[in-house]
């Protein structure tokens, strides 16, 4: 089994954050990285940048979904993305805490949780963050993997630094 997500290749990431800009412009028409559904975290003195975005876990009840007090979560009919019904969301923040990789965020202004819901429409088959990336770090593709304790940004950074240092002759 596998499902389509925004796959990331952190070893190529330059940390330019054009994905964050594109995401916020897509939602509000403005440059506002704090509301971006994808975010770039840097590690190891800036050597490594890790893009963090929802893995749209395929398991029947993903961790965020499971803890929701109001049953706000469902799946998008077209993309199968895990989506939040923001009208129902009471802003308890439980889902934000539950995500093993930290890919759900909380907007203190609207008091609602938000996450990547795969902006694929009839007019655009590729999400705007992917279009904006100048370094081919993001790909809209299938993966068999859900989010897990093993795929937190810290752990991804750690395994990448090992690989990079190992690669030094």
């Amino acid at each position: 089994m596998s499902h389509k997500v925004i796959l990331t290749y952190p070893e190529r990431c330059t940390g330019c954050r054009r994905c964050e800009i594109a995401c916020s412009v897509h939602f509000t028409g403005k440059v506002q990285p704090s509301i971006s559904r994808i975010c770039i975290l840097n590690f190891n003195e800036g050597l490594i940048d890790i893009p963090l975005v929802c893995r749209q876990c395929e398991v029947e009840e993903p961790p965020c979904w499971k803890v929701c007090l109001k049953n706000c979560f469902s799946r998008d009919k077209n993309t199968n993305a895990v989506i939040i019904n923001t009208e129902e969301c009471i802003g308890c923040g439980e889902c934000v805490k539950a995500c093993p990789i930290g890919a759900l965020f909380f907007n203190p202004e609207t008091h609602k949780a938000y996450k990547c819901e795969l902006c694929v429409t009839e007019n655009s088959s590729i999400p705007p963050c992917i279009k904006a990336c100048p370094s081919n770090v993001l790909e809209y593709a299938e993966t068999p993997f859900d989010a897990s304790e093993e795929s937190t940004p810290n752990k991804v950074a750690l395994s990448l630094i090992k690989k990079l240092i190992g690669g030094v002759k």
């Binding site: 506002q32 050597l47 990079l164």
Partner: protein, 628 residues
């Protein structure tokens, strides 16, 4: 206060470290318009803060403001929009200083709601400032004091449980008031030139941490986004940027060396026999493993690497920029790429300006070789060109002001004056700012630029070298490379234009691709202004004249518009057995042309009252006994 959606977000934040009081005021767009923003408006703010003291202030005075500035294009969707700058009075030169950076700090300032942050006063104990939108706190930094900039950045990220904060911090060099200590932004972006890190150190301010939840809006967002997308496409396709993306600024090393512009062994020559070891191709092939970019930029001219072998094996470092390949490489006679990478990393992490550091070390080596300094004077180091082991020991001594380092921390102008014995003749600085990595005997217009810039010897205020090398001037002339004719005009043209561009704030790497016309269009779409190219250049001239006034008020004289004696006296080879210097009379001719062209008094070098009025700078006070 609401976001004004004009490229500017609308607020100026003032923080007084002595009283812990903060003050937020709206920006006055009519007033800002005269200076665009960024460097320009920060220059006006600097003037306003020191005007009460007749424009004169000591860099370490409590009242010397440290101004963090962004421009109307900073943080917008335009690809290179990361730039911010810091403006203050420099402890190294005693005059005006503006130092520019990329990274993500400038945009984050605006997300937090502030176009400008002005910091004055002095803290009682080491602290840092935490700015999170409207919440502004001064927090204890005792545990951070003494840490290098990488440790500081990481500790702050852990302390705030947030890897998305942006940090501007100083290292040990700034804490120890090394006169050329820089401020490090977002880990690898240094406002290094002119010692503003020591101004922060004097204020006992270890860091400024910013996180903003807001946005940056522009006036006409539809047209702005369209043009910004067009710019992004130009950047992706411009063939001139391909080598910049691949090899960074160090792409210029071999070219510069081949045309005798590459200062070598303290400017004794302008061609380094091992230059090809240090160029961007070599760095890419041997050292780099990652490509890095500033906020929103698809050029990604920056690189990161790990030293693969030798005594410094395993060290993570940021790709060596062109200037540093020269100042810590060729100019110190070091040909080992791994060693230069390590020296560069040391300066970065200790918070030293690598250019000034390299320059003063080269001067020290020459003094030692000439017997001006003896073994005891140099702490028994084995100082010779190329001995990177002892050069790296000296870098650490400077940052911590140990032994000889305490002396060298004062900058080459002060030190050479103290040591004397002819060492001033080869102290390579203008107005106290050590020269960057472009030789000037083979490019006299660059020499004129160094001699006349607002902050001392600097290559970023104009880059007229191409006119020395035969490019047609805007009025269709081809200039004699080593001559003085026509050099003033092209230098002034670039100085004014760049002062305006640095107020947007544009990035040097991209302006060639985007072009001034498009940038002005973006400025107008963002702000709703109707600035044309003529007005744009005039703003640049206004900024240039105002900083000039600040410099005169702070003790600069016309005699400081000069170059190191070595440039006038000592010849360098420029190939085919030809040797050249820049004869002093040629330089003086260029300088006279320059004053005339600028409308400045040729006897005093000061802007005339008429010039200041023409530029709408009538508020600059004229007093008896001080004809400014």
């Amino acid at each position: 206060m609401k976001n004004i959606d004009k490229g500017f977000v609308g607020k100026i934040l003032e923080i007084d470290l002595s009283t812990h009081k903060t003050n937020i005021k709206p920006i006055d767009l009519e007033e800002v318009k005269k200076y665009i923003g960024g460097k320009g408006y920060a220059t006006k703010l600097l003037w306003d803060y020191i005007a009460a003291k007749n424009g004169q202030i000591n860099a370490f005075d409590s009242d010397n403001p440290l101004i963090f500035a962004t421009g109307p294009l900073t943080g917008t969707s335009l690809p290179p929009s990361a730039r911010a700058c810091v403006v203050s009075i420099s402890p190294l030169t005693g005059i005006y200083n503006d130092s520019h950076v990329g990274g993500s700090f400038g945009p984050e300032m605006k997300f937090a709601g502030y176009d400008f942050i002005i910091i004055k006063g002095i803290l009682e104990k080491p602290s840092y400032i935490w700015i999170n939108d409207d919440k502004i706190e001064i927090r204890n930094a005792i545990d951070l004091w003494g840490k290098d900039v990488y440790e500081t950045d990481e500790l702050l990220k852990q302390k705030h449980h947030d890897r998305r904060i942006q940090v501007a911090s100083i290292g040990p060099a700034g804490e120890n008031l090394v006169k050329y200590a820089g401020i490090t932004f977002s880990l690898h972006h240094h406002a290094a030139r002119g010692g503003l890190g020591a101004v922060m150190g004097a204020k006992k301010l270890k860091a400024i941490v910013v996180k903003g939840s807001g946005y940056i809006g522009v006036g006409d967002s539809e047209k702005f986004e369209k043009l910004s997308n067009e710019c992004a496409k130009s950047i992706e396709s411009d063939i001139n940027l391909f080598s910049m993306k691949k090899h960074g600024t160090a792409r210029g090393v071999s070219w510069s060396n081949n045309v005798y512009l590459y200062p070598t062994r303290n400017h004794q020559e302008a061609n380094f026999e091992y230059a090809d070891n240090l160029n961007g191709e070599k760095q890419e092939e041997k050292l780099w493993i990652q490509t890095k970019a500033c906020f929103g930029c698809s050029i990604h001219c920056s690189h990161m690497g790990i030293i693969p072998e030798g005594p410094y094996k395993g060290t993570i470092f940021k790709g060596i920029e062109y200037e540093i390949t020269d100042l810590l490489g060729a100019n110190c006679g070091v040909s080992d790429l791994n060693a230069v990478a390590y020296s560069s990393m040391l300066c970065d992490k200790l918070g030293l300006d690598a250019l000034s550091t390299g320059s003063i070390i080269a001067w020290t080596i020459e003094c030692y070789q000439k017997g001006i300094l003896d073994k005891k004077d140099v702490d028994n180091l084995d100082l010779k060109f190329g001995n990177y082991i002892d050069i790296n020991k000296l870098i650490i001594k400077i940052a911590y002001r140990q032994g000889l380092g305490d002396l060298l921390a004062e900058g080459v102008k002060r030190v050479s004056k103290k040591i004397g014995k002819g060492s001033e003749d080869f102290a390579m600085h203008v107005k106290g700012l050590e020269l960057p990595g472009w030789g000037i005997r083979s490019a006299p217009s660059m020499g004129l630029n160094y001699a006349t810039t607002d902050r001392g010897g600097c290559h970023q205020r104009a880059f007229p070298i191409s006119y020395d090398l035969g490019a047609k001037t805007p009025d269709g002339k081809i200039l004699d490379r080593f001559g003085s004719q026509g050099k003033a005009k092209v230098t002034i043209m670039q100085q004014d234009k760049i002062a305006a561009l640095y107020s947007l704030i544009a990035c040097d790497i991209s302006t060639g691709t985007l072009g001034t016309k498009r940038l002005i269009k973006l400025l107008n779409l963002a702000t709703g202004w109707d600035c044309d190219e003529k007005e744009f250049i005039k703003v640049g001239e206004r900024i240039w004249n105002l900083s000039r006034v600040i410099n005169f008020k702070n003790g600069m004289t016309k005699n400081d518009d000069t170059l190191p004696k070595r440039i006038f006296k000592d010849k360098i080879s420029v190939g085919s057995g030809i040797k050249v210097n820049l004869p002093e009379e040629n330089f003086k001719k260029m300088l006279n042309d320059y004053y005339k062209e600028r409308g400045w008094d040729s006897k005093t070098g000061k802007p005339t009252a008429k010039k200041l009025r023409d530029l709408d700078l009538g508020f600059v006070k004229f007093e008896k006994g001080n004809d400014l």
